[in-house]
Subunit: 474 residues, 2 copies
């Protein structure tokens, strides 16, 4: 699964800047055992879960405090060396690759919960804490953190990529759920953005500027996010459909009616088959919606009845309920393992995932044409989606011994992105731009907006040391 | 109500830049009758609803298209003349004052609805459209635009100040509800930010950077916002309480329980008395909550019962229901007229409004101490608040013949802001910084964050022509 394929696609243009012995000496002098130059550690930090590859960073610093981050950045600034922040390593668009050399700044040891403010439904954490660790830490308060990108990503990384996932249809994305940040700037200064107040009109929204900036404008050292009361009642259900179109039309109508559904995930028949094999489930191998309803018992019942009515209009069959926590966990674990189920279904394969998102009214159009193209390509694929938001992922399962497949998959992705943009959508709903989607970003926003992003980058990071070479070329 | 008082406070430091005859000639040549240099028009555009005053702009251009805006900005850039965008003129922190001279760019004629996408719950409008005009235009679709700052503000102005209001507790603010923008940059280029997709991780969040930038980073020429299905059932109620503390504790518990209340407004006894006089209502002259519930009939009933239970725990009396649209409109009109009711209660007075917002758990602390101070001051005042968000406004009613009152009121505001900041809040929940709160912004965010804002401003507007002198000093 890790063998390099179609090198011409997977090796982005690299232009490593020199990292002097003097810089590395200064780093070791400051960080001692917190700094590693071992090849294994560097290689582990120089890749992500995506397919792109590049030579590893020159060193890895394990930060244990904001001061550590500030000191590392100050040194990097002095020697003009790139710094790439690293959380859980679960990004997939090449965010972590040292395409211009430099060091990886690993914040995974900064994983403390700093303060829980249960009465205000907020919590402040260090960036290396994972979303599962966060939910474990607040479990006793009756609150939870809903953003769920599948992977057990770090809160800092989720902030930096504006992550979302299965609950976003009801609870929003990191954009809506980050209230305040502590950030180390390119000069190594520590600043704060936002407050714990629920709303504010106080100056430029630096918090939202940092959310989704992929480590290129500052390094996040504290994050304050919203929590939500655990719903009084939760109910999950699966429903099979005669076609993907029928499933999608059910979702569109549900959203248009304003039903506050908490999760609504599409799995195509391929995905269901792979999940059944991998997770030993016995789901009907047809297009399927996996849904969850949150609320009071009465409201959950009402929501579910509404969606059942809509589903049956579109030929949906056998609403199957999972009301116990164990059943629900089994279903959602199976959903979250869909990616691993898929890659294990084709031994030795490597997956490339798309990430388009379109206005809900265009979802059927965008999906159906792309399915036709994917079917015609002959490449094994699976399709899953956070369809309540109009966001879905094709996963193409590439055989490393057939490099032309990578080419074909990139062409399919290109066609898909073009289609999504024509329909008023975006090239990335939740994965970010990284290295992989820089051209798509230009197509999406136009050069005027990219020039504005570049101007901001140059103003905030004049030496171009913060994760350089990502999102856009300078 | 418009007489200048306490001039030392109300005349901000002005440093008008020269506006050459050549520039004005060029403006007239391009815009003809769309350009006015009459004193009355200039004076009307050189003030807002707040108390600050400054000499008027040199001219007013009435833009009728994006091209008009771009051309005006290009001329202003060429001659390095300030440009102040003008929508409905309803801001209150000095946003519209020509403290560095220049021209006012009035976009109120750009008031068309460009496209309604009812299936996606989005609408794209020109910036001069007012929120009431917008709701009128989408009425037939069964959808509505919830953001409601009281005044019939323009959508462009609401975007630029990150406005919110009574519905924000459920539907969010302009931050959450603006999806995409068309913006004219400082060089007169037209760019687009965002798409109609519900979520995206595509590069820097330029949309959110523009939202709340108060005209200092670009001039908004198109806005795409979210709409919501008109709730199947709506129910409004008033409830009186023995004390403000009791009312506030009811709100805190309601929010902490996760009740999706759509509106929950606090009025103190002063406000209720003023409203009764002005709107001929017969509300009990005690601290009062004015609430609204949206949802299905069952869900509205359930929410209301929960809140009634909480209210009665805190001594709330006589939940009075307004279930017909007419009764609801009467109540909310009375609420929205509270400001006018207040200023008309003290003939010839001028109101200064505070705008702090704190985490909900600190709301009672923040409010009660501030009420003690306001009572001790002897200045007539009223208190209203979007308390579900922790946001409230003291309105001090100043007698122009007693200039020391303005001094006292500024001191009270200062104490209130300091208290809010100590409690983790913000100096402005929804009005913006403008000229009036520039010092408070430094107290709130620290110089590091302000320096980052300054760097962004310099990068995007190197000649400092877009609404210069607002939010921070350069």
């Amino acid at each position: 699964m890790n063998s390099p394929i179609a090198a011409q696609h997977l090796l982005p243009a690299t232009a490593p800047r020199p990292v002097s012995a003097a810089f590395l000496d200064a780093l070791v002098a400051r960080f001692g055992a917190q700094c590693s130059q071992s090849l294994a550690v560097r290689e582990q930090h120089g890749r992500d879960e995506g397919a792109l590859q590049a030579p590893p960073p020159a060193a890895v610093v394990f930060a244990e405090s904001t001061q550590d981050v500030a000191d590392a950045v100050k040194l990097a600034s002095e020697y003009e060396v790139p710094v790439i922040p690293y959380g859980a390593g679960s990004s997939i668009e090449g965010h972590l690759l040292a395409v211009q050399g430099g060091i990886s700044l690993d914040v995974s040891r900064m994983n403390r919960v700093l303060s829980v403010n249960a009465e205000d439904l907020t919590v402040t954490v260090q960036p290396g804490l994972s979303r599962k660790q966060l939910n474990e830490a607040v479990r006793d308060t009756g609150l939870f953190f809903p953003i769920d990108p599948g992977a057990d990503a770090s809160i800092g990384g989720m902030t930096a990529t504006r992550a979302s996932g299965t609950n976003a249809v009801r609870y929003g994305t990191m954009r809506e759920n980050v209230l305040a940040l502590e950030v180390v700037t390119a000069s190594g200064e520590v600043i704060r953005t936002g407050t714990r107040a629920k709303k504010s009109s106080a100056g430029y929204d630096l918090t939202r500027l940092m959310v989704g900036s992929e480590g290129t404008l500052g390094i996040i050292t504290e994050v304050t996010v919203r929590l939500y009361p655990l719903p009084e009642a939760v109910s999950a259900a699966v429903c099979s459909f005669p076609s993907i179109e029928a499933a999608v039309r059910t979702v569109i109508q549900t959203i248009q009616l304003g039903v506050p559904i908490a999760r609504v995930e599409l799995l195509d028949a391929n995905s269901v088959r792979m999940v059944n094999n991998y997770s030993k489930t016995t789901l009907r191998e047809e297009p399927m919606l996996l849904m969850e309803f949150h609320g009071t018992p009465a409201s959950v019942k009402e929501q579910a009845e509404t969606v059942q009515d809509i589903a049956s209009e579109f030929g949906g069959q056998s609403f199957e309920w999972a009301s116990t926590p164990e059943e629900r966990t089994r279903l959602w674990t199976a959903r979250h393992n869909a990616y691993f189920a898929a890659v294990s279904s084709v031994p030795g394969c490597r997956a490339i995932s798309t990430d388009t998102c379109v206005p809900i009214s265009r979802l059927a159009d965008c999906l159906l044409d792309s399915i036709t193209e994917a079917d015609a390509s002959g490449i094994p694929y699976f399709l899953v989606g956070h369809v309540g938001d109009g966001n879905f992922h094709f996963g193409y399962l590439l055989d490393p011994t057939q490099p032309e497949q990578a080419e074909k998959a990139e062409t399919l992705n290109h066609q898909l992105v073009n289609r999504a943009l024509r329909l008023g959508g975006t090239c990335t709903g939740e994965h970010g731009i990284g290295l992989h989607k820089m051209d798509f970003l230009v197509d999406e926003t136009g050069t005027g907006a990219i020039d504005m992003m570049r101007a901001i980058k140059r103003a905030l990071d004049p030496k171009n040391i913060l994760n350089p070479g990502k999102i856009f070329t300078l």
